[in-house]
Point group: C2
Chain length 423, copies 2
């Protein structure tokens, strides 16, 4: 038996059957012209608007039985504005350049063989997500644009919302003459579909978990298929001794407090001993005024004694809230050591006017994103110019950082000869 | 706890301890200049030559207790020539351009942020291999050149050979002032080291199994870390009705018979019904003369009745020997369908003088490598100009096709601002 056949799960669960349909659909999608995939996005966008009432009704049905936290309820709730945002998102994707078929490299061998590496879709993508129903539309749109088939499994609490959004996406596919199996949703709220997606080796090519820590960790630990995980962002802002004070204050306030709940928000401030006595009191004042609390090491507390003491564990904590860990360090290497020890390899930033120090930091940081004189909150597909994103990859293979269209691609080699044989 | 710390296995086995050392070494290696890594390769090459007698003695010790097949024994055996080939391989790697720090893309955002995507090492690579001791030197050389730390686990039957080669690699690292932990070997022939490598989540970033089908499948099924697998190559050569007969005969003979045991050898011939009556008898004669046997479908047997009949399973079999499956098809689409159904997405080739047919085939084949008028046996890192390879990736994410230096890289984003904050 061939590897591809062998690798497939022998199970015949609903997800496996859907994935086989998806494989066929992906083949059609990958070969469809740009204009056809874009037409599907425009038509799906129109369908979202037309089916607005239906989607809101489905969402109301989900909310009726929902009994969790208020913040989760907010994420689960759809409004006319949120549906309009989904619809506009699909139109924006239609306007992006086609990622398929892009020649990534080409060269000619001494024997005359022409070789080129060409971008192709990954194939069948699975997305397991929680609460926010818009993830379904965004992910399906990115998949259609990038020529991938997709299987969506939303949280059981958003089952009816996900179904209603799915109907609009299918209407878009149908209008463009593309196979409906290109976008599928798990057929029930049954939790076993998650397990079936995780074990769909050879059927699902890439699994993307979007949601809380426990979901992401479970998928990372249990999946038998490649995973593009969006795990924690324990981001650092490091103020070097050569930093311009006003810039440093502005960047730290934004990096920590613009939105505290996103993965690109700064959790730890590292500040050089040489500049801390003059600058740290100002930063503490700035952030206190914005409602921020602190956990500081002993050296920082020597400078600002009112700061609460940090424990070792605090420096390894992603607060996702208005708390800032603070450590005083001695120069770039000490900052790099701290980041290597406590960080999650997501996003780090140095503030300095010293180019040599900035270069040393940017080379030394081994994170998906490293910045110089900018707020860590810029780690975002939209801010990077990707147009749309499906998360921030925190692993080290296939893709790192914001996951947009390009990160949903793989490649193949095209080799053109004129009768060459290997000697 | 941060994601990186959380993701780590809490176990404290020998492999986990080695991987933590490897992580630190990888950090140094990634920041070392090209010249230092190249110096390590030159010194390791020299050490392989100087330690020749020692390596041969270690190999003799392995061979003494070996009791398997003759072909396996041949792969296990080292000779002066084979040691010289390893040494030259390392020198060739030193001559290749540095893959680190290459700018893969760069752009400027409307807000003035400069963003660039830069090639960085994956980090800590694990290689589990069987029999051929040269894999240890090749893989270690590629790792050093690409700034990755590596943990090698050879087969228990080649334990002493692997240790002797490892000593030469470490001598090279030492001569260049690089950390010895950049290249490590499992400390004993104990099979549990394989299990420990497979479960080293957060410690080993990428696992590469090199060896027989059962090894690769076991790693694919059981590993808790990303795997770059070299699975089967069920490659097809498709002779289109527009093929030039002499070219087709030459290519098929080479694609099947040059070396039958490599993954890029052709296992199935697809031939158009329009050209089969005139061409198939010649091809059968050509290949019979070279000692090839056949498994043919009913339509092929109508043309050459002496051909043995193929079963359904034969078309899904990677022969890795002098057997060719043959099917007569009706045009490009039928060939594409056959390949999609039975293939392993490794390498396929079309022979034709018809450019439109070639384009349709090249677009329609969803394999790592698709060729036009060339032998499938060209699927090889050396033939692609990669200088050295560690296998052919048959998965769909991170890398496809020959795995050379570039495929052992990931990337990070460098973002340069002048005080930007996110609004």
């Amino acid at each position: 038996m061939s590897a591809s056949m062998k690798a497939e799960t022998s199970e015949t669960n609903a997800i496996a059957a859907m994935a086989r349909e998806a494989r066929r659909a992906a083949r059609d999608l990958a070969q469809s012209p740009t204009s056809v995939r874009d037409k599907a996005l425009w038509a799906a966008s129109a369908a979202l608007r037309e089916r607005k009432d239906e989607i809101l009704a489905a969402n109301a049905r989900d909310l009726e039985t929902y009994s969790g936290t208020e913040s989760f309820r907010d994420r689960l709730t759809l409004t006319e504005e949120r549906i309009e945002a989904m619809a506009r998102g699909l139109e924006d994707m239609a306007d992006l350049p086609d990622p398929l078929g892009r020649v990534l490299a080409e060269w000619t061998r001494p024997n005359g063989l022409k070789i080129r590496r060409v971008a192709t879709p990954v194939g069948v993508i699975g997305v397991i997500y929680e609460s926010r129903p818009n993830v379904g539309a965004d992910a399906a749109g990115l998949a259609i644009k990038s020529g991938n088939a997709i299987i969506l499994r939303g949280g059981s609490e958003s089952f009816y919302s996900a179904e209603a959004i799915h109907a609009a996406m299918v209407e878009g596919l149908r209008a463009a003459g593309l196979p409906e199996a290109a976008v599928q949703v798990a057929p029930s709220a049954d939790r076993r579909h998650v397990a079936d997606m995780m074990s769909a080796a050879g059927l699902i090519d890439l699994l993307i978990p979007r949601g809380g820590k426990s979901l992401v960790e479970r998928v990372q630990n249990e999946a038998r298929v490649p995973v593009l995980a969006h795990a924690e962002g324990l981001c650092h802002t490091y103020i070097h001794s050569g930093a311009e004070s006003q810039m440093a204050r502005k960047i730290v306030a934004n990096a920590k407090m613009r939105r505290t709940g996103i993965c690109g928000s700064t959790e730890t401030l590292l500040i050089d001993a040489a500049i801390a006595p003059s600058l740290l009191p100002q930063i503490v004042e700035d952030l206190s005024a914005l409602g921020c609390d602190f956990r500081a090491d002993a050296r920082a507390r020597e400078i600002v004694p009112m700061l609460p003491a940090a424990s070792e564990a605090d420096f390894a904590t992603e607060w996702l809230g208005a708390i800032l860990s603070i450590a005083v360090v001695d120069g770039v290497d000490a900052a790099l050591d701290h980041i290597a020890h406590y960080g999650s390899a997501h996003t780090e930033s140095i503030v300095t006017a010293d180019e040599a120090a900035a270069m040393r930091f940017m080379n030394g940081v081994d994170s998906a994103v490293v910045m110089w004189n900018a707020s860590t909150q810029f780690c975002d597909g939209g801010e990077f110019g990707f147009g749309a994103e499906i998360g921030i990859a925190t692993g080290r293979v296939h893709a790192r950082g914001p996951v947009g269209l390009e990160q949903l691609m793989t490649y193949k080699y095209e080799v053109i000869g004129n009768g060459q044989v290997r000697s």
